[in-house]
């Protein structure tokens, strides 16, 4: 069974779980990782990974700026806005 630092995962995932939730999810993620361990049985030596699905190449389009007109439609969804800008709390923590 693979061992992992669950607190580190939480931090990478930008989640803050309470103890109950943490215990439950830690156990379930562990079981999922155990389930997928069978991938190691497959001989993939020299096999090119599939990173992209475009079978016919990526179609190109002219590089022309098309302005999005519905600014109010965007700002109406903002949890907190000021002068068409999103307001957030301070970015740096106090020392």
């Amino acid at each position: 069974m693979v061992e992992f630092d669950f607190d580190h995962l939480q931090s990478l995932a930008h989640l803050k779980l309470d103890e109950n939730e943490k215990q439950k999810l830690q156990d379930q993620v562990g079981r999922i990782l155990k389930h997928v361990e069978n991938l190691s049985e497959v001989d993939t030596h020299g096999i090119v990974p599939t990173f992209t699905m475009e079978s016919h190449g990526t179609p190109l389009r002219p590089d022309i700026l098309v302005p999005f007109e519905n600014l109010s439609g965007i700002m109406d969804n903002a949890p907190l806005a000021e002068n068409n800008a999103f307001r957030v709390p301070k970015i740096l923590a106090d020392k």
Binding site: L15, Q28, L39, V48, M53
Partner: protein
């Protein structure tokens, strides 16, 4: 109210009914049964009426109308419709109203379709039963104690129950086909790149595809013809021309070669009743002049594991955008980082958190090669096996799901058991192929689905094979008997 699109379109064209009358009939159906089925996150009949009246007015004047003029439809709630809430059945997007339409919505509305509501789903399309909706469970119209499947469970239930003529869903690992199977309707996942995903809330970007849930194969062909085609706003969307998918439906399928992968057919999770119906389906195809051969596709044994590495990895990246800054739920905090963590922790449900955590693990330093890279290599092997099979066969057929619709709550506490319900559908997404589920039987009153998978961008051939079976059988003609809210509460 469960007539197919093709018949309702004819009735509208001939003047036997009007768009307004059709909408009123749909509304009274929704009023009667929605309290039991709960397919919709929200409905929009008041906005729909003026559109229906306008459509009738244009028709009266003899103006040219689109192929879906006046048809009431439903849209899965992860597809953006301008001004309507698009929640993904998540607390984090509960109040989100997109400022633009998805390309598929633009195309459907341009063809005259009228959106009556947004349908319930597993949160962010993660699930196989619609029980992961943050709002409520949707119930299977064939048996209200059972799940409708998922993640497009609301769309499937709405179509099966006659609350919409057809619906759009999305399919990342089977989320159109499995609920179509559970609800006894047709569900089509087009080839990756056939339909624009602009305006579809992203889950697994190398897997996601939008497709129709309909009452007949011909309906699926009609809707695909409307929504398919290149979109400059989606760089993964193919420039291949869109054929008339209805044109070749009637052609006979004598000489057609079908393959059955033993790895799926012999899977111990397949219920006896499902295997029996599938065996009958093989006989039907043989009677129609097709040949059916069992083959081995060894990589399929690893498809589920491949999926549960790749899909969470992509999801963890895609869902990073929910930070409470620009839209969605914000839980205030003193610092930006705390605000982001608090918003995500409160806004996401358990399944979504589970997948994000799995995703960040398989992408993290030290584990990337063993999990993510390995899974992408196995994915190549799965695609190769399909390619090899398609040198000899026209299509691959399996049951759509190993079981019929299960009971609400039966699998919700065991994620692995839930994941296994997608074992038949997942390999298809790995290779980006088109695949359809059509009704092929019943067990104890619950529908069973047949999955047919074709070659990339050859939906026309796939639909022809599905249509031949549908026309030779009666399963698609059965309808669920949903008790109305008033009748059952009297």
């Amino acid at each position: 109210m469960t007539l197919p699109l093709e018949i309702l379109s004819e009735a509208l064209q001939s003047g036997d009914t009007s768009a307004e009358a059709l909408l009123s009939a749909m509304r009274s159906r929704v009023d009667n049964i929605e309290g039991k089925v709960r397919a919709f996150v929200n409905t929009h009949f008041s906005e729909a009426y003026p559109k229906a009246k306008h459509m009738d007015h244009l028709r009266k004047k003899g103006e040219p109308l689109g192929s879906l003029a006046g048809i009431p439809i439903a849209i899965k709630d992860n597809i953006c419709v301008k001004g309507m809430p698009t929640t993904c059945s998540s607390e984090i997007l509960k109040n989100y109203r997109p400022p633009y339409n998805a390309t598929v919505v633009e195309k459907l509305e341009a063809a005259g379709a009228i959106i009556v509501g947004k349908t319930n789903m597993d949160e962010f399309a993660m699930g196989s039963s619609t029980e992961n909706s943050a709002f409520f469970n949707t119930r299977n119209p064939w048996n209200l104690e059972r799940v409708p499947g998922g993640s497009s469970g609301g769309s499937a239930a709405a179509v099966a129950a006659g609350e919409a003529v057809f619906a759009l869903g999305s399919d990342t690992g089977g989320s159109i086909r499995q609920p179509a199977s559970f609800c006894g309707i047709v569900g089509l996942k087009p080839t990756y790149g056939r339909v624009s995903r602009y305006g579809l809330v992203a889950f697994g970007s190398s897997l996601d595809q939008i497709g129709p849930l309909t009452r007949s194969v011909k309906d699926a062909a009609i809707v695909l013809g409307v929504i398919a085609g290149h979109d400059p706003k989606d760089s993964t969307c193919s420039t291949l021309p869109v054929p008339d998918y209805t044109a070749g439906l009637n052609k006979d399928i004598r000489g057609c070669k079908l393959a059955v992968p033993k790895e799926l057919y012999e899977n111990p999770g397949v219920e006896e009743s499902v295997r029996k119906s599938f065996d009958e389906a093989l006989k039907t195809y043989q009677a129609l002049g097709a040949s059916c051969e069992f083959i081995s596709m060894k990589s399929f044994d690893y498809a589920l594991s491949t999926y549960y590495v790749i899909a969470p990895a992509e999801a963890s990246s895609n869902l990073e955008r929910y930070d409470g800054v620009r839209y969605g739920l914000r839980v205030p905090a003193d610092t930006l980082k705390a605000m982001i963590c608090n918003s995500r922790s409160k806004g996401f449900g358990q399944e979504v958190k589970r997948r994000i955590l799995t995703g960040v693990f398989v992408l993290s330093a030290g584990y990337y090669d063993a999990y993510y890279l390995k899974a992408q290599q196995v994915r190549t092997l799965i695609t190769r096996e399909y390619n090899e099979a398609f040198k000899r066969f026209d299509a691959i057929i399996t049951p759509t799901a190993p079981t019929v619709a299960f009971e609400i709550g039966e699998k919700s506490s065991d994620p692995i058991a839930m994941y296994l319900s997608d074992i038949m559908t997942i390999p298809v997404n790995m290779a980006g192929l088109p695949s359809i589920s059509i009704p092929c039987g019943f067990s104890a009153g619950l529908p069973i689905g047949l999955q047919i998978t074709g070659k990339a961008f050859e939906e026309a051939a796939l639909l022809k094979i599905a249509y031949a079976f549908e026309q030779a059988t009666e399963y698609h003609k059965k309808e669920p008997d949903v008790p109305s809210v008033s009748a059952s509460e009297e």
